[in-house]
Subunit: 508 residues, 2 copies
C-alpha cells in the first residue's frame, strides 16, 4: 500500500514491529553467546550487538517516530488524538507513549556514558569478586551510584529519588509502597526463620550425591517435557546461569545448568525458566510487535517463574506424581528414599550468604537487604565506602551471620555493576504476587491438588493464561493482582503460604 494511504497508526505499527524484529534478533545473538558460540566469536558478537542496538535505538527515538506518535496522542497529557481506534489499539498507543517518553527523557550522551561506564564496571566487578577485594570495585560503583542519582533527577520523582529507578523495573511501585510490603514481610519471615532454626533439620545428603552429565541431561529434558508446553515453540540448552529468552511467542528458549552434586537445582531451574517461558508463549501472538504482546513488568514475570518453581514445583501433589518417575531415572540415588523424606529435603531452610542459593523462607530477606541498601545509596545517606560494613551489619540483623568476605557479601551480585538499581525488589514482589494469585487459583480450583497429583498441569497454565498471560501490558501489576483475586496486592497471602507450608513440614 502506498505510504500516504496508510493511517499514522498503521505506519507506527510498522515501525514498532521493525523495532521488535531488531530486538528479537538481538535476543538470538545473546542466546547464542550464552549457549553455543565458539569462544573466539566474542569480539565480532559485541560489534553485532552494538550495531543492531544502535539501529533499534535510532528507530525508537527518531523524528519520524515522534511525529507519527504525536499524530496519535498528546505526548504530555496522554490524551488520544486519533479517532476510531479499537480498544486494543488505544492500549497499544498508550504503551507506545510510555515507552517513548521514558526512552527520550535521558539525553543520548548520558545513555552512552552510562553504557560505557557499566560495560567497564562489570568487568572490574568480576575481578573484584574473584579477588574478594571491594576496594577494586568501589571507584566504579561510586560513579554508577552518582549516575543513577543523576538519572533519577532527570527522570523525575515525587517523594524519593529511588522511585524514579524503581519505575523502570516495576512501574507500579514507589519505595514507600515497597517498604510497607517488605516491612510486614520481614517481621513474619524473621519469626518463621527463628522457629525453623529451633526445629529438626531434614536429612538432605542424598540430594548431594554425584550425578553424571548424561543423567542430568535426561532429568532436565524429562521435567521440561512434563510441562504443559508445545515443544515446537521452545528448546532447552545449557548455560553457565539458567535463563529464559524469548524471540517470539513461538520461539521461546530456556537453559539450565548441571551442578554435579545438586541435581535438584537442575529441576528447579527448568521449572523456573519454563514459568518465564510460558508467560512469553502465552502472550497474544497476533499483537506481536506492540506492548500488547509484552510482559507487564519484571515483577509479574518473576511471579510466573516462581509460581512453577515453588507453588507448583515444590508442592506435595506435584511430587506425588513425579517422584516415582524421578526414582526410576536415579534408582541408585533415590532407592529407599521415601516421598516424605524427599519432600522434606527439598524444603531445607538454612540461612546462607548467597541469594541465588537461598531457600524459600530466607530468599526475600536477601532481597530486603539489597532494597534497603540501594535506597540509602541513592538517597546519599550511605556512602559506597561504607557499603560493606552496612551490608554486614544488616546481614547479621536478618540472618544472625556475618559474611566471611565481600565476595559472599556485597560483591555477590552482578546487578549494580551493570548499573541496575531498583531491580532487586521485583524478585520479592514476584514471589508475593505469585502467592497472591495462587490464593484465587486455589479457591477457583479446590481440587487442584488432586488434579496435579494425576500429572494434570494444563489447567494450571490455562488459569495463568486467562488471568495474566493474555493481557500483555493491558493491565499493570496492581490491576492484574486485583482483577485476578478481587483484592489489592499485599504480602498476606505469601506469608500465609509460607507459614502454613513450613509449619507442616517442620512440625512447628
Amino acid at each position: 500500500m502506498p505510504e500516504e494511504k496508510r493511517s499514522p497508526y498503521e505506519l507506527l505499527a510498522e515501525k514498532s514491529k521493525a523495532i521488535h524484529i531488531y530486538h528479537s534478533i538481538l535476543t538470538l545473538l545473546h542466546w547464542d553467546q550464552e549457549t553455543h558460540m565458539p569462544p573466539g566469536g566474542i569480539g565480532i558478537r559485541s560489534e553485532q550487538i552494538a550495531q543492531l542496538s544502535h539501529l533499534a535505538h535510532e528507530e525508537k527515538t527518531s523524528k519520524s517516530y515522534k511525529k507519527l506518535l504525536e499524530e496519535l496522542v498528546n505526548l504530555k497529557t496522554g490524551n488520544l488524538k486519533a479517532k476510531g481506534l479499537s480498544k486494543p489499539q488505544k492500549i497499544i498507543v498508550r504503551e507506545w507513549r510510555k515507552d517513548f517518553n521514558r526512552s527520550n527523557k535521558l539525553p543520548s550522551s548520558f545513555v552512552k556514558a552510562f553504557s560505557q561506564l557499566t560495560s567497564e564496571a562489570s568487568q572490574i566487578w568480576a575481578m573484584a569478586k574473584k579477588e574478594k577485594n571491594f576496594k577494586l570495585f568501589a571507584p566504579s560503583l561510586e560513579k554508577i551510584v552518582a549516575m543513577n542519582r543523576e538519572k533519577a533527577k532527570i527522570l523525575g520523582f515525587k517523594d524519593h529519588p529511588y522511585d524514579a529507578l524503581l519505575e523502570g523495573h516495576e512501574p507500579c511501585m514507589t519505595s514507600a509502597r515497597v517498604s510497607k510490603i517488605f516491612d510486614g514481610l520481614q517481621v513474619e519471615l524473621k519469626k518463621l526463620l527463628k522457629k525453623i532454626a529451633a526445629a529438626k533439620k531434614p536429612d538432605v545428603r542424598f540430594l548431594h550425591r554425584l550425578v553424571s552429565d548424561e543423567k542430568q541431561s535426561e532429568i532436565g529434558h524429562w521435567i521440561a517435557n512434563a510441562m504443559p508446553v508445545d515443544r515446537d515453540y521452545t528448546r532447552l540448552d545449557l548455560s553457565s546461569h539458567p535463563f529464559s529468552m524469548s524471540l517470539h511467542p513461538r520461539d521461546s528458549r530456556i537453559t539450565t545448568r548441571y551442578l554435579p552434586k545438586a541435581f535438584i537445582s537442575n529441576i528447579f531451574s527448568v521449572l523456573h525458566e519454563e514459568g518465564h517461558s510460558m508467560y512469553e508463549m502465552g502472550l497474544p501472538v497476533e499483537h506481536w510487535g506492540t506492548g500488547l504482546c509484552e510482559a507487564a513488568s519484571l515483577s509479574v514475570h518473576e511471579s510466573q517463574s516462581r509460581w512453577w518453581e515453588t507453588l507448583i514445583g515444590r508442592s506435595l501433589p506435584f511430587w506425588k506424581h513425579f517422584y516415582p518417575q524421578l526414582q526410576k531415572i536415579l534408582p541408585g540415588h533415590l532407592k529407599g528414599v521415601s516421598l516424605d523424606k524427599f519432600y522434606r529435603a527439598i524444603h531445607l531452610v538454612t540461612p546462607s550468604f548467597i541469594r541465588v542459593e537461598a531457600d524459600e523462607v530466607t530468599y526475600c530477606l536477601h532481597v530486603i537487604l539489597r532494597f534497603e541498601i540501594e535506597k540509602q545509596l541513592i538517597a546519599g545517606s550511605l556512602s559506597v565506602a561504607d557499603l560493606p560494613a552496612a551490608w554486614n551489619a544488616k546481614f547479621k540483623d536478618l540472618f544472625g551471620l556475618t559474611p566471611p568476605d565481600d565476595a559472599q557479601g556485597c560483591l555477590q551480585d552482578i546487578h549494580w555493576s551493570l548499573g541496575e538499581f531498583g531491580y532487586f525488589p521485583t524478585y520479592a514482589l514476584g514471589n508475593i504476587l505469585a502467592a497472591h494469585l495462587f490464593s484465587a487459583f486455589a479457591k477457583e480450583h479446590p481440587d487442584w491438588e488432586g488434579r496435579v497429583e494425576k500429572g494434570d498441569l494444563a489447567f494450571v497454565r490455562e488459569w495463568l493464561k486467562l488471568h495474566i498471560h493474555q493481557w500483555g501490558r493491558t493491565y499493570d501489576f496492581d490491576e492484574l493482582a486485583k482483577r485476578a483475586t478481587g483484592k489489592p496486592i499485599s504480602e498476606d497471602a505469601y506469608c500465609h503460604y509460607l507459614k502454613k507450608k513450613y509449619s507442616h513440614i517442620y512440625n512447628l
Copy 2:
C-alpha cells in the same frame, strides 16, 4: 573522529564493515534455523531475515555509498582516483567496485520479482520432487529460466548468455573455457569408469552396519578434533544437510548428519565442511569487512573442501594413521576388517542417480550433465518441457543408466528452484583446482605421505594458508592456480590423480 576529517576510503570502509556485520548476523540466523531453532520459530525467522537483508541491500546500493566509491575509483573504467592508497587498499577498492557494479546492474524491481518467484518455486519444487511429478514444477522453472535469460541480457556477455550467469559464481570462467575443461575430463572419466566397471568391486557391507547416534556423535567429534584447527573458533552441530557457515574467521561453524547405516558419510561430511571452514578461518582477519577477507570464489571454496575430503581424507597415509583409532571407536563393526579392505571399500565406484551420493570418479559426470543442460536452457535450445527427456538421454550416455523417475533425475537438486544457474560447474572446478594445487603441494613436500601417516596435518593447512587462504580476493581462481603451481589451470592433474589412484585400487 568527526566525519569530515576522515577520508572517503575510511568512510567507505566503515560502511563496508557495517554491511559485513549485517551479513554475519544473517549467517547466524540461517545457522540457527538449520540447527537449533524450534520449528515454531520459522515465521518470525523469515521476517528477521527479510528485514536485515533489505537493510544490507539498501546500504550497499545507497547514494552515499556510490558517492564515496566514485571519489575513490572511476566506476566504468576502474581507474583509481584516490591518492596514497596502500597496495591492499587498492585491491579492496577494486573489489568494492566489482561488487557495486554487479549488484547495481539489476534493477531492484527485477531483484524483488526474482526473489518472490524463487521463494515460491523452491516450495513447489519440494512438492514436485516428493510427488515425483516434474509437471508440477515445470511452470515455475519456465519462469525462472526466462528470468535468468533476462538477467544474462541485463548483466551483459560477449559470447554466450550463460557466461553472464557463470560469472556470478566463478568470475574467471566462460562457458567456452568450462566446456574445454569438461570435455577433456568427460573423456577420461568415461574411460576410467568403463575399466572400473569391469574390475572386481570391493566388499563394502561393513560400512553399512547400523551405528547409533551416540557413536556417530563420538565419530564426528573425533574426526573434527583431529583437524589442525583451533576449536575455540568453531563448533560442530547436526543439520539435515551438512554445511559450513562462517560468521567471521573466529566463529566458523560446521554441521554434519548421521545416516544410521552409513557412518562413513558422517566422517567425509566433517572433513569436507572443515575444509570450507579452514578457508574462512585462514582469511586475513585484520581485513574483515572487505574483499580481502572473503573467499576468492565458489570454485576456490570447493577446492578447499574437496582437498580435505578426498585428496587428504581418502588418502592411504591418512587412514594409516586414523584407521586404528576408528577401529577402537567401532570395535564391533571393524573387527577383522583390515586397513586394506577398509581403504578399498571407501573407494567403491558405482554409477548412481544422485549427485550428492556419488563417488569421486562419477561425481564430475553428474556436474557435466547439469552444465550442458543449463547451457541449452539459457541459450533457448532446450525447452523446459523437454528437460526430463534430455536429462535422461544424457544420463544414459554418461552412466549407461536411466533414472527411474524425475525425483532421481532432473528434480533431485534444489539449485534451479532457487534461481541458481551457473553454480553447478563450480563443484567440478573445485575438484579440478584441488588436484591442480595438490600436484604442487606434493612436489614441495615429497615426504607428505610419511608426515600425514604420523597424524601431522598442520603443515598441510599451512601450505593452503600460504597459497590460498591468506590472499582472500587478492587473486582470482586462475591467478591462484597459476601462482601456486606455475601452470595454468587444466583438468590434467585431476585426471592423473584419479587414474593413478583407482588403477592401483582396482588393479587396472
